[in-house]
Homo-oligomer: 378 residues x 2
């Protein structure tokens, strides 16, 4: 293998596939990046066997020559060293040549690196996915859907299924749900889908987070293919594979109350800052819990108390309070996460009593919902 | 105590004194910030007993009212909470009131914090320093002198004196020297000094780093007072006290060679980047060591070899090579530190053989010097 390549394309591509490379893998060759050079271009692959990323650098991009091939071939290079080296090369172009025993020479200007490579034939094969049922979402919407749900997955392995996000497709609508059993995030969107295929799968939260980091904020469509045990996300020059989680996702629909006894509409920014300040002292005490009480004249009081340090009381003027008076306690962290995930400048919190889960929605938008379980303190 | 204060002044001042507050102190009251309010303004103090910082917020600054006093007094507040609280307060002004038992109420807009304070009488007194012999350095020069030497102090406590920077004042010249016994950094400057006082003290590297973080990049003069066991740095509204290190600093003058057998003049940026790339593979191997060899026609070769990973060879065109041929090995990290510390775009490295310390100087500037001990590999 021997070719010359534009450095910036190589750096970007290496950075993308590195998202899948783990230094803690039990399969030594997976600490490397696989590189294959052909007339069409150069393909890089990184994998930790849960996630695999394939990035393609075309020989030509918009009429500009990117890769100049002298000899086809392939090699696996140590990922960490290779990624640090390409970032620091002195010139705009890089020559990569594989010699005997996969010794790989990387040249740029007067810098010459010799890296011990491995045989690409020994690199595990990526899953073969039949691209029959594809559905499509614009990249920016997709990133938002991930951002608004993935933070709510469980970080504990006691119920592994909850470390993933439940994706359901039905009637051309995708619903994403994440819960750690203390709070729940839900986001819906319409997808482009040619048939009436239905899916109900659970994608590891980590896979979605990593893919979101690679994805640009454009409205280019992302192709999504779901199989029995894999999901594939496709963009122009990138394939992102993730395994799916085994098992049945709990039915969360019964958890979400349909009615409410108290509905408080608030300015997101004011409410968020008040909760943030109240949580400063709550952190020391009982699991970051703050209290919320309705007061007369549309005022709500947010407070927390940490006997050794002190206490804090915040008053926030609501836009409206409808229904019964209320005192309730909840995790400040969950509330901050939920408020940061929602869009829009105004939200309504729907309470059904101090001991019942409550729902936060953006005013006039039912495509997203956050639910939090209260904490018993009264 | 009761007063109202402009939040931005309070935030800045708290941030400055926080530099001296350690959460790992054995004296509980030192986890707090002392606050004293009088007609002149508000004084904040933080200390870890090695370093003490006093910051003064005047009642009026350039004709603008900063502090409005209602009642004089003092209190000690938990530093970590107080600093986080003031940063997040909602309004431009803050009211602070000490009630019974040092309970302190902090009000801003509709936010009200109650913090349990302590009696300021129990806070240790700052050292009393007679301001007889003051010398002065502009702040920006002072910051540079710290930056160019402090990185070379020892981080090991086996020879505690080497964790400090040796300051010598003689004939109106200040010389700062730091060494960890593998490399040495030296910086000289003329100071403003009214008499011919001489000093030879060792200031903890940590104290200088912390003070440097607080100091603005202005050419305002910093007053420096050295006593038997303390040094005091004074700026307009800040006092910074540090204890001095006990013991005699080693005589480093004999370590610095006066002659050289090979002198190589180089562009700093090109040399630094070549060393940086060579160190990528060196990190894995023998203690981050790179080799440097002179080649014909003014070229130098920088290389490193890590048998399991691979090797790297860099060629750098020098501006000039004078004297004997040379092969030498040294720590890439020490060289990078030294090159980053020096000013100017060209440096000369003066070698006196492969086994002898070598000196790096900025071309045409003898106020600063970096010295590195080579590593035996041949």
């Amino acid at each position: 293998m021997k070719f010359t390549i534009q450095k910036d394309y190589l750096v970007q591509s290496v950075q993308d596939v590195m998202k899948a490379v783990s230094s803690r893998t039990t399969i030594p060759i997976l600490t490397g990046i696989k590189m294959v050079a052909s007339e069409e271009g150069v393909t890089l692959t990184g994998s930790d066997s849960d996630i695999s990323i394939e990035s393609f650098i075309p020989a030509e991009d918009e009429g500009k020559g990117i890769v100049e091939l002298e000899r086809r071939g392939s090699v696996v290079l140590p990922a960490r060293f290779f990624s640090e080296i390409v970032k620091k090369l002195p010139k705009e172009t890089v020559q990569i040549e594989v010699q005997n025993h996969f010794l790989t020479v990387i040249r740029s200007g007067k810098a010459e690196f010799n890296l011990n490579g491995l045989d690409a034939e020994e690199y595990p094969h990526l899953p073969q996915i039949e691209e029959e049922n594809i559905f499509k979402i614009p990249a920016d919407l997709f990133k938002n859907m991930i951002r608004q749900t993935v933070f709510a997955v469980s970080t504990s392995e006691t119920r592994p299924i909850l470390t993933g996000v439940n994706w359901r497709v039905e009637g051309k609508q995708l619903t994403c749900i994440a819960t750690d059993s203390h709070r729940l995030a839900l986001r819906k969107a319409t997808v482009e889908l040619e048939n009436d295929a239905q899916y109900n799968v659970v994608i590891p939260g980590k896979s979605l987070s990593e893919f979101s980091k690679i994805l640009d904020d454009s409205n280019d469509l992302v192709d999504i293919v779901i199989t029995e045990n894999q999901v594939l996300f496709k963009t122009k020059h990138l394939l992102f594979f993730s395994r799916l989680l085994d098992g049945n996702y709990p039915d969360t629909s019964r958890l979400i109350p349909n009615e409410s006894k108290t509905a408080v509409t608030l300015n997101v920014k004011e409410f968020l800052q008040a909760i943030d300040r109240a949580s400063l002292l709550a952190r020391e005490g009982r699991n970051n819990v703050v209290k919320l009480s309705t007061l007369p004249e549309g005022v709500i009081e947010v407070s927390s108390n940490s006997p050794e340090i002190g206490k804090v009381i915040e008053e926030v003027q609501s836009i409206s309070i409808e229904g019964e008076e209320l005192k309730i306690s909840f995790s400040a962290k969950y509330m901050l996460d939920a408020l940061k995930a929602l869009e829009g400048s105004e939200i309504t919190v729907y309470f059904t009593g101090a001991m019942r889960p409550f729902v936060i929605r953006t005013v006039e938008d039912d495509s997203m919902l956050q639910l939090i379980l209260p904490v018993r303190t009264y």
